[in-house]
């Protein structure tokens, strides 16, 4: 980790206008949670439905996309990353520092609001808050790593990430059973399902895969994406067309 890189990354992430979006998403989620509590009388089923669909399917991937691309893509786009790269600092340290900032932001802007939303909408001794908090944390780590790597790999990271998060995870994953197994959300829900035990089925917290498979796949994708990002950052082409 490099504190200077983290410092510059953080001021870049929060200093741009897109940081307003980062605040807007959790605010909408908390608002919906309050509405849900009022409309369904704090039922755990309704809470689980809100969190399983809107929070895990939209708020979390979108926040991770904003954060993951926000910590590095603008610098690559405008070329200012050259000031980080023209330094005798290992590329792994630069990328992991940025990843650390992104993960912290994901926790603040997605994971904690999701837990709060569960408590607001209606929970039973914070069991749903814990279960969805765990799932959001695991999925958040994986998504963030994926989107940071994507930002180094392609200048169209936001579009590719949106297509993946919205089309693959939300739409195709909902209809095609085989695809559901290849989904960060499903992998992350496996430990949440295990955490809730007997109540999981009645609250609708179910995963397409079991815990060892889910955790293994999460780890493989997270580490693989970070490794790829480091490799690509080391060979990043920085040149204007003359």
């Amino acid at each position: 980790m490099n504190l200077v890189v983290m410092d510059l990354t953080l001021s870049g992430l929060l200093g741009r206008r897109r940081s307003l979006l980062l605040v807007a998403l959790p605010v909408v989620l908390l608002g919906l949670a309050a509405l849900t509590r009022w409309a369904s009388d704090a039922s755990t089923g309704a809470t689980s439905s809100l969190l399983g669909n809107f929070a895990m399917g939209t708020v979390l991937p979108l926040t991770c996309l904003l954060v993951g691309t926000g910590v590095i893509a603008p610098e690559i786009d405008d070329g200012s990353i050259v000031y980080l790269l023209a330094k005798p600092v290992p590329r792994s340290r630069i990328l992991l520092s940025k990843l650390a900032v992104a993960l912290s932001a994901t926790v603040v802007f997605a994971v904690l609001p999701i837990m709060a939303a569960a408590a607001i909408a209606g929970d039973e001794q914070l069991r749903l808050a814990q279960a969805y908090g765990l799932a959001a944390l695991l999925a958040g780590i994986c998504y963030t790593s994926l989107f940071v790597a994507l930002s180094v790999l392609t200048r169209n990271a936001v579009i590719v990430g949106l297509l993946y998060a919205l089309l693959w995870e939300a739409v195709i994953g909902g209809y095609v059973p085989g695809v559901r197994d290849v989904s960060v959300r499903q992998w992350a829900l496996a430990p949440a399902e295990a955490l809730l035990g007997d109540r999981a089925a009645s609250w609708g917290v179910t995963s397409a895969v079991n815990v060892p498979v889910g955790l293994t796949l999460l780890a493989v994708v997270t580490v693989g994406a970070a490794w790829l990002g480091i490799r690509k950052l080391g060979g990043l082409r920085l040149t204007t067309a003359d």
Binding site: G12, V82, Y83, A86, K87, V89, P90, T239, D242
Partner: protein, 303 residues
């Protein structure tokens, strides 16, 4: 004392060749990389700075490769052409960040020294976003100097500078070169380059067109064949007189104008009015056909 060595370096993007088989050594002193826009100067500097892999050939700094070797940045200071920086921090904060990224033992002092060197100490506490183009250029320069590098690579450093800033930067580069540093800068303006460069490397259409001190380059450029188009009261007689006098190498009569080619610029310009007067010919129009810098460069390549 450090030197960058390019050995048969080429770089292509798909089927477009940006840099074609360039071999050169950039040693201590100021080297000007001269060429028209699109000649491949930025591509070449990117490869020297380790931000682009050569498609073939090697780029080395004091014998070690630069591509995928971040430790070379202890010796290299880079001034990129792109203007973007970390806009939300102040100049002083940005310089300090650069110094700390270099792992300097006294980052504070190094940052202050670099700001002083570019005369930016007064405005250092303002956010970079509020700086003018010239101030940004100076902050870029300061980030390249902060770790006291042996090699300085500058991509079009004079772009957007006013005359005073230009002179200041020229003085700074001269002082750095006098300390034994290797300074390379690119430009598409000959006058800029010949004012301060000890050595000039000319790049045209990706090729290494010429190399040497500015007098040699200047001579190559003025001694090339010149083309003129002339309209006069009697083109045919004027053409004959120019050929007979030896002031022109070739003439062509077509479409009511006379095209003249000469390899001796001085002799032609003196002979033309004299021959016209002697022959009673009235000159209606005399214009150089190829005085653009691009055509000068094109001649150097074709040579």
């Amino acid at each position: 004392m450090s030197a960058i060595l390019l050995d048969r370096v080429s770089r292509w993007y798909g089927s477009v060749v940006a840099v074609n088989d360039v071999t050169m050594t950039i040693g201590p002193g100021i080297t000007g990389l001269l060429g028209p826009n699109g000649a491949g100067k930025s591509t070449l500097i990117s490869m020297m700075g380790g931000f682009l892999a050569p498609s073939s050939g090697t780029v080395t700094l004091d014998g070690g490769p630069v591509w995928r070797h971040p430790e070379v940045y202890r010796a290299i200071g880079l001034v990129p052409e792109a203007e973007a920086m970390y806009d939300m921090v102040t100049g002083a904060q940005f310089l300090l960040a650069n110094a700390r990224l270099h792992g300097l033992s006294d980052a504070d002092a190094a940052a202050r020294r670099a700001l002083d060197a570019v005369d930016m100490a007064d405005a250092a506490d303002r956010p970079i976003a509020t700086y003018s183009k010239g101030m940004k250029q100076r902050i870029k320069m300061a980030t390249a100097l902060v770790h006291d590098p042996a090699v300085l690579l500058l991509d079009e450093p004079f772009n957007g500078m006013d005359p005073r800033q230009r002179l200041h930067l020229m003085d700074l580069l001269r002082a750095l070169a006098a300390e034994g540093r290797t300074v390379l800068f690119s430009s598409h303006i000959l006058e800029e380059v010949e004012q301060i460069a000890d050595t000039i490397e000319v790049l045209v259409a990706g090729r290494h067109a010429a190399s040497g001190d500015y007098r040699r380059i200047r001579r190559l450029m003025t001694e090339r064949p010149h083309q003129y188009t002339i309209t006069s009261s009697d083109d045919r007689a004027l053409a004959a007189a120019l050929l007979a006098d030896g002031a022109a190498d070739g003439v062509q009569l077509s479409g009511g104008t006379l095209a003249v080619q000469t390899s001796d610029f001085g002799r032609f310009t003196h002979a033309l009015p004299r021959l016209a007067r002697d022959g009673g010919i009235r000159l209606l129009e005399v214009s150089p056909a190829d005085e653009s810098l691009e055509s000068v460069f094109a001649y150097l390549v074709a040579r």
